[in-house]
């Protein structure tokens, strides 16, 4: 039961933010839910072996989202499909931020999400993205500049 309790606790605390992270990256709610649920399922199977579950889950979601995006790029070369997006509140500010984020490459979106939504340090962002600290800094700097420029133009 201890395993189930530990799972439920982490699940309740992290599921929504991880789905949002996945959604920001992949741009599709069903795909984001699939990715995150799959990651939780895998984590539960080896829950005794994972010491830092939150970091593990975050890293796994980033990794799977990156794979998903790569596959998606390949698929889009052959087929054109519209993403199923969640109901968007009719707030023009939110629409503008989403539009600006959508214009960024997925990796920039992930970096900005981790830094500004989850309030992670730059080092934690680098760990989650599995990249050097300098790369994470660069992603954040450029992503932020791009976003600022986009929102300025609005």
């Amino acid at each position: 039961m201890a395993r189930a309790d530990a799972f439920d606790t982490v699940y309740a605390a992290q599921y929504a933010s991880l789905v949002r992270l996945a959604y920001v990256t992949v741009g599709s709610m069903p795909a984001a839910e699939d990715v995150v649920q799959d990651v939780f399922v895998e984590w539960y199977r080896r829950i005794d072996q994972v010491e830092a579950p939150v970091a593990y889950l975050r890293k796994a979601v980033v990794s799977r989202c990156s794979s998903w995006v790569r596959r998606r790029i390949l698929e889009r070369r052959h087929a054109s499909t519209l993403d199923q997006t969640p109901a968007v509140p009719p707030d023009p500010g939110i629409v503008a931020v989403r539009a600006a984020m959508a214009r960024l490459a997925p990796r920039y979106r992930m970096a900005l999400f981790l830094r500004y939504y989850l309030d992670l340090s730059v080092a934690e962002v680098a760990e989650a993205l599995d990249c050097p600290l300098g790369t994470a800094k660069s992603l954040l700097h450029r992503g932020l500049a791009h976003l600022q420029a986009q929102l300025e133009d609005r």
Binding site: F7, V19, Y117
Partner: protein, 428 residues
């Protein structure tokens, strides 16, 4: 400029607005449990891997067990076989260097290359060198390669068991044409010219290379006024003396040169192997008996009659009578008894010297006009049998290449299958 804090706030607001409905955690735990139970099913999905492993094992086994005689590099056949019909260049699959044939029973030139036939009677290998001259040793293990059309300071001797050439150097530079191997496979006699002439015609000396000591000794100087004939030579049975003719020379004078130890030439006059003999064009000594000499003579490479002489070393017994030949026929060697091997038209025959006619041994392939300079490993042929043999198995290098190519194909196919399976699972 919008501040970083403002951007962060906008991001948070924007992302918080994304509605997320979490399924009950028990659902995911149940999925994890189900996945654990499906372990055996997942193992069953490993069939592509198992298939690949089986394919690898099959290919490896097939590589070793493909039909046909063994053609592992340098491996010898334990019996000596001759094909009833020579495959010629059509049977060549690779080179001596790539896949050494081991002991060879014959050598010939075709299509600008020298080709050896292994003792299994089906394995043909090509030498890369073109426009040269080659001579197969009596035991079939070695081939000496030279280029008579240019002067050089070295001669290559190829070991057919390894495919490796050993280089023998000498001075000064000479144009070399190999003439004869000693019966013990230790020495090679060459016609030598300081300046190469067309097809080696004209005056030439005779030198002997000792493979054991690596000494290269000139035993006979070029004789002037010998026309455009070709110098010929044959070793005595002991391998310590060379009998040589000097080219086109009235009376067909033969001279005996001691090689070990060197002695001044002893002329042996042959009173005309054929009427009005001007040039000894083929010369052979019976390597089993020290007493019998073959000297076939005529000019310009045309042999009309084989003549046998036995008086030069005190021949006892009857000397075989002359044997008429057709133009283009060549002496290949003795059969170890009372017969000789000769090229006869478009094949090779064994002639009895006791008047019992001849047996055709093998035929050259149809349309093989370009097949020249056929040679036998004369020690092996008397022990060989003639077979109707099929084409040889794949050479070792081709088997390896085919196996690797097949394995790569299998691996690629498995990667494709696994990726497609994963994609299908990922998208339900």
């Amino acid at each position: 400029m919008i501040s970083e804090e403002r951007v962060a706030e906008l991001i948070r607001t924007s992302v918080d607005a994304i509605p997320v409905k979490a399924p009950p955690p028990a659902t995911l735990r149940a999925r994890a449990a189900a996945r654990r139970r499906r372990g055996p099913e997942r193992a069953a999905r490993m069939w592509p891997v198992a298939l690949a492993a089986a394919a690898v094992a099959t290919v490896l086994a097939a590589t070793v067990a493909l039909p046909g005689p063994s053609t592992a590099p340098g491996e010898e056949s334990t019996t000596y076989r001759l094909p009833r019909v020579l495959a010629g260049a059509a049977g060549v699959t690779t080179t001596v260097a790539q896949d050494p044939p081991g002991r060879a029973i014959a050598l010939f030139a075709q299509g600008g290359h020298y080709i050896v036939l292994a003792t299994d009677g089906v394995t043909y290998r090509r030498f890369d060198d073109q426009n040269g001259a080659a001579l197969l040793s009596p035991d079939g293990l070695t081939v000496v390669l030279t280029n008579p059309s240019r002067t050089t300071e070295q001669a290559d001797v190829v070991d057919l068991r390894t495919g490796q050439a050993q280089r023998y150097s000498f001075e000064p530079p000479l144009a070399l044409r190999p003439l004869a191997w000693s019966p013990d496979n230790r020495r090679v006699a060459f016609a030598t010219q300081a300046t190469a002439t067309e097809k080696g015609a004209g005056p030439a000396g005779v030198s002997v290379l000792d493979l054991d000591t690596r000494r290269f000794v000139q035993v006979a100087d070029p004789r002037p006024d010998t026309g455009n004939g070709l110098v010929q030579a044959a070793f005595a049975a002991t391998g310590s003396a060379v009998l040589a003719s000097a080219g086109a020379e009235d009376g067909c004078t033969l001279r005996l040169y001691q090689v070990d130890p060197p002695k001044p030439a002893e002329p042996v006059t042959v009173n005309g192997p054929v009427e009005r003999c001007r040039e000894v064009v083929t010369l052979g000594l019976n390597t089993l008996s020290t007493s019998l000499l073959i000297a076939a003579g005529e000019r310009y490479g045309n042999i009309w009659r084989l003549n046998f002489r036995g008086d030069w070393l005190g021949q006892n017994g009857a000397v075989p009578s002359s044997m008429p030949l057709s133009s283009g026929d060549r002496l290949l060697g003795w059969n170890g008894g009372d017969g000789v091997y000769l090229t006869l038209g478009n094949g090779v025959a064994e002639f009895s010297l006791t008047g019992n006619g001849f047996d055709r041994m093998l035929s050259f392939p149809t349309g093989s006009d370009g097949l020249t300079d056929f040679q036998f490993a004369t020690d092996l042929v008397p022990e060989s049998t003639v077979f109707d043999v099929d084409a040889g198995g794949w050479p070792w290098s081709l088997r390896r290449t085919a196996a690797v190519a097949f394995l790569l194909l299998v691996a690629a196919a498995n990667v494709l299958v696994l990726r497609r399976a994963r994609t299908r699972r990922a998208y339900g």
